[in-house]
């Protein structure tokens, strides 16, 4: 059955962050923060999500741009577009993994308007959920994808908890490996949330992808200097080379001394409802030579504990191979 044409809503276009937060706090569960609109408008047009109050953030120019921090890191405003992230000299120079990840999102037009914040906070792409069924994530009482003949090719290997959807963001794994911190503001003030804690799985809250609650606004991403200028690897494997979300993606940052991996961060996308930090792999390869043998071992470690569904068995060798490539080819 087909649905089209956005239902009516009240549109607010605040010109200050405080104004936006006040509106979102007041609207509560019936509010919606609109950044680039690439994710939001589809939900509205399909008449699946119907906020009463839409707060357009595009006027909040103070949330756009990149600035250097006193500690040597950088801060990226949440409304910085993905094209700007892809092309910004500071990001390209020091945090190439993020520039590469941003460059692989969707298509040029989407990157031109889509924001970093929006890419991080975007909803999952399980086709059942997007179709509008009454699954757990939609407030209902079942999971259609994780059913005896569910068509779950794109779904998770880890962390299933009634819901088997995956994190679709390309920039999320990159920011995890950069030890980024998300700046969240609400009426009560501002706080920093480490990237690893920002994204949540169904075991914590099955209806949300991040820790953001009504009234919260992601205003910026802060990246420390710890991984600036180190060796990076990013790879996204998707069906088509444009538009399509990752089947599996990998991001890594490492410092290699001579032949030895001194320190490393590595995270995978598309295999769990959150970007999956591969800390077992990190522990395994730290202090080891950057070699084919280490890479092979890393791949095998990464897939330990994977639980496959009806149609996503391929993600096991694919994750194995991507981790191997990150260690071997970075």
């Amino acid at each position: 059955m087909s649905k089209d044409m956005m239902p009516a809503f009240e549109l607010y276009q605040p010109d200050s962050v405080d104004g936006a937060i006040e509106l979102l706090a007041e609207a509560g569960e019936v509010g919606w923060a609109l950044a680039g609109g690439n994710d939001s408008l589809d939900w509205f047009k399909d008449r699946v999500k119907r906020p009463q109050t839409v707060v357009d953030l595009s006027g909040l120019t103070e949330l756009r741009g990149v600035r250097e921090l006193p500690d040597g890191g950088i801060e990226i405003g949440a409304l910085t577009t993905l094209t700007e992230v892809e092309n910004h000299p500071l990001i390209r120079e020091r945090y190439g993994v993020l520039a590469t990840a941003a460059s692989r999102v969707a298509s040029p037009q989407i990157r031109n308007v889509g924001t970093l914040g929006g890419n991080l906070c975007q909803d999952t792409r399980c086709w059942y959920y997007r179709y509008g069924v009454d699954c757990y994530r939609a407030g209902g009482n079942s999971c259609y994808a994780d059913s005896p003949q569910g068509q779950n090719r794109e779904h998770c290997l880890f962390g299933a908890s009634r819901c088997v959807a995956v994190s679709p963001s390309d920039t999320a794994p990159a920011l995890v490996v950069l030890d980024a911190r998300m700046v969240v503001r609400n009426a009560g003030g501002e706080r920093e949330v480490p990237a690893g804690d920002f994204f949540i799985g169904p075991d914590i809250d099955i209806e949300r992808m991040t820790i953001l609650e009504p009234g919260d606004l992601l205003t910026a991403v802060r990246i420390p200097a710890d991984w600036a200028g180190t060796r990076f690897y990013f790879e996204k494997v998707a069906d088509r080379n444009t538009w399509d979300f990752a089947l599996v993606s990998i991001a890594a940052a490492m410092v290699v001394n001579g032949e030895t991996i001194e320190r490393i961060r590595i995270a995978a996308g598309g295999v769990q409802c959150v970007p999956r930090r591969l800390d077992v792999v990190e522990g395994l390869v730290t202090g080891q030579p950057k070699s084919e043998a280490t890479a092979t071992l890393a791949g095998q470690a990464a897939i330990r504990g994977a639980t496959t569904l009806n149609f996503n068995h391929f993600k096991v060798p694919l994750l194995d191979n991507l981790v191997k490539r990150a260690i071997r080819d970075a």
Partner: protein
């Protein structure tokens, strides 16, 4: 005969225990010959249609260098405003979901999917559509002329979007390589598969810029 409200909690329990399948649930419904509403078969999101009483607001938009006054609803996309309120039908709706590029326009010279932006969100910006490229005396933009000479379009439906993406590229890079053109236009689908010809067209303009 009204079908009793499905007991989802117990159903969820049976899913978890894998004793029954959704299919069996549906077959049970079918076997009973009962009537169900579409809501029971496939419940949509709860909630009504949102706040009422929303009105159009009069905006002045800068479109193709002209100031256009138009009444726009809050939930109206730029593509719909262009096509239905300003009668600029050159911008096409191929999918209305940001997945094809047929609606590409320039917003402050940046290629954007007009179906995926609210008109209210771009009211201060300079919007250029396909209709804005031709000179008043009928002279075509070099990209348009090149597409005629290289026979770029087949069915023509994706063409305006392809032209706008190419124009946006050439504004920042007058002499792109074929690979750069390919990447810049990658957000424009062509089902007829005219990619080679579109690339040839833009490369013709690129080479002209090199020769100039």
């Amino acid at each position: 005969m009204r079908y009793p409200e499905p007991k989802f909690d117990s159903f969820a329990a049976t899913i978890a225990s894998a004793k029954a399948t959704r299919r069996q649930f549906i077959k049970g419904v079918i076997a009973s010959g009962a009537a169900v509403s579409s809501a029971a078969y496939l419940a949509g999101c709860s909630g009504g249609s949102g706040g009422g009483g929303v009105l159009e607001r009069t905006l002045t938009l800068s479109v193709n260098g002209m100031q256009r006054t138009v009444d726009v609803l809050p939930n109206e996309t730029l593509a719909m405003t262009l096509r239905y309120k300003l009668n600029l039908t050159g911008t096409k709706l191929g999918c209305d979901r940001g997945e094809c590029g047929a609606c590409t326009v320039l917003v402050d010279d940046v290629a954007s999917y007009s179906c995926s932006m609210l008109t209210h969100a771009v009211r201060g910006r300079a919007i250029t559509t396909i209709e804005g490229l031709e000179q008043p005396d009928g002279t075509l933009h070099p990209v348009q002329q090149a597409m005629i000479d290289e026979l770029g379009p087949q069915c023509g439906f994706c063409t305006p979007g392809q032209v706008m993406s190419a124009v946006a590229l050439l504004k920042v890079n007058a002499n792109p390589t074929r690979d750069q053109v390919r990447h810049a236009l990658s957000g424009n689908l062509c089902r007829c598969g005219a990619y080679d010809n579109y690339l040839n067209s833009v490369m013709r303009v690129s080479q002209m810029a090199q020769g100039a």
